[in-house]
């Protein structure tokens, strides 16, 4: 299946990234790239720096050293909403939804950047602003159908069960029509049925919209099944980088996960 998808040029390259908090080195000289259209997994033991890496890409953290090239533009740091403007969307490890708002409204916030109509017209809610709102609404409804969350469209997301919240969060990220989608443990805390659903959605997103996906995941079965290439981090350093099969056979990776025998 992976062969059928068109994997294109490099869309994101992180180069020699180092990030520390005070004396704690979270990332040290990490470099890898992501190609357009692929599903790229970042794995590693707890505290390996996986989430930090996503936060660097997305602009929450500013690395002390290194560069990031996204869609041909190189930068050392950027503000989070600028990253969003350039087409990076994400979900969070501990769901970050707008809990008091309905599923529909949550997804509509994902369209926020696509709204181009003048501020004043928006406030008055007339003419072009109205038409624009309707167009965005249609797009969001398609995502709702796609993720099969029609039934909870008007429910405040704070009341939804965990698995559905994860799905709504994915929907909000998709609403932004991102070029690069970052998923931080999209399947954490799910039962096997929910995991299967989520896997299916991730693969469908990748195939139907051609979205490039970077995901962090702990379930090795899932990672090996759905990703094209895998980055392994350990103690903030890059341990291995390659296809799932290569990574699985890598001695350093086996040592990191199972513990090395010292004698």
């Amino acid at each position: 299946m992976a062969g059928e998808r068109r994997i294109g040029e490099v869309i994101l390259a992180v180069d020699q990234i180092s990030l520390s908090f005070g004396g704690v080195r979270a990332l040290e000289n990490v470099s890898f790239d992501v190609r357009r259209g692929e599903i790229r997994a970042i794995i590693g033991p707890n505290g390996a720096g996986k989430s930090s890496m996503l936060n660097v890409i997305n602009g929450f953290y500013h690395p002390q050293e290194g560069r990031i090239t996204f869609k041909g533009q190189t930068r050392t740091q950027m503000r989070t909403h600028e990253a969003a403007e350039q087409g990076i969307a994400r979900t969070f490890q501990n769901i970050a939804l707008f809990k008091g708002m309905s599923t529909l409204d949550n997804l509509m916030t994902g369209r926020n950047l696509k709204m181009k109509v003048n501020f004043l017209l928006q406030a008055l809610h007339v003419g072009p602003a109205r038409r624009e709102e309707i167009a965005h609404r249609e797009f969001v409804e398609r995502i709702i159908d796609f993720l099969e969350i029609q039934a909870v469209r008007k429910v405040p997301v704070g009341r939804l069960p965990y698995g559905l919240q994860k799905r709504v969060e994915l929907g909000r990220a998709l609403a932004a029509e991102p070029d690069l989608l970052l998923l931080d443990e999209p399947m954490a805390g799910m039962n096997s049925e929910e995991k299967e659903d989520m896997c299916r959605f991730i693969l469908d997103v990748n195939e139907e919209f051609g979205t490039t996906i970077v995901l962090i995941e702990h379930d090795m079965g899932v990672v090996m099944d759905i990703s094209d290439r895998v980055v392994v981090l350990d103690y903030g350093r890059l341990l291995a980088d390659g296809s799932p099969d290569e990574v699985r056979r890598d001695q350093a990776v086996i040592d990191a996960y199972l513990g090395a025998v010292h004698d």
Partner: protein, 311 residues
Amino acid sequence: MEMLRALTYGPLVEMWEYPIFLAEVALNGLLTGVMYSLVALGFVLIFKASGVFNFAQGVMVLFSALSLVGLMEHGVPVWAALVLTVVIMVVLAMVIERVMLRPLVNQDPIILFMSTIGLTFFLEGFGETIWGSNVKRLDVGIPDAPLDIGGVLVSTFDLWAAAIGATMVVVLAIFFQKTPIGRALRAVADDHQAALSVGIPLRTIWVVVWSVAGMVALVAGIMWGSKSGVQFSLSLIALKALPVLILGGFTSVPGAIIGGLIIGVGEKVAEVYWGPAVGGAIENWFAYVLALLFLLFRPQGLFGERIIERV
């Protein structure tokens, strides 16, 4: 025995016997309540969108009214003075975002709260340095004449105030619930990090919210200022807004309105009917005692979001 009667059911009998007088008292209280609501509304807006309890809201009322009067004293016509004051409040919002909110981003709410106390002192001093500290008369041309409605006397000014207050609440409700900016504001109020990740520019949102709060302060300032003159004590009505917020819930716009009305009516009725029995001045403490009762039995207020922790 007479004392006991005056303290308990006596006033109720009186209310029953002279309904017109009761209506007049209640209406009077209702209109004062509108004013409280206006001030409380400014608090709720900022609290909803940034989680900051803005202690300076009361002084913003004073500052906006001072600016308006000051400009008018310099011979600026009313409409131009209004526009200029709105501009001043927007600029103020920008400055607050730049020098206060931005450096303190991600700090505890209590730190932001204390910085708004600082802002209170600053605005008080700054306003009086520029515009002077004497009591000023404000007249923006709203007519004030008694009106007879079915035997009940009402001031036209109070009716205007109520109408303007009501319009503002409707406009704000539509703004928050129906427009994309309103949605972005609610999103920011809900989760800063998530809002950033979908590309909502936090700084712009803060400026918008503080500007809107500034305009609400201006309307409150005009109403209170026309009634009792523009002077330092104007900033103290913010203290009355606190019980209103406790009653209505800190995050609810309708709560701020209804809380204001309840307190307005409640304190007037209590003062007029039960006041004589206890030597008066009930108006001064009624709101706080009511707030205390709410804190004991319904801490989230009438409309506030109930906090349920899932474990």
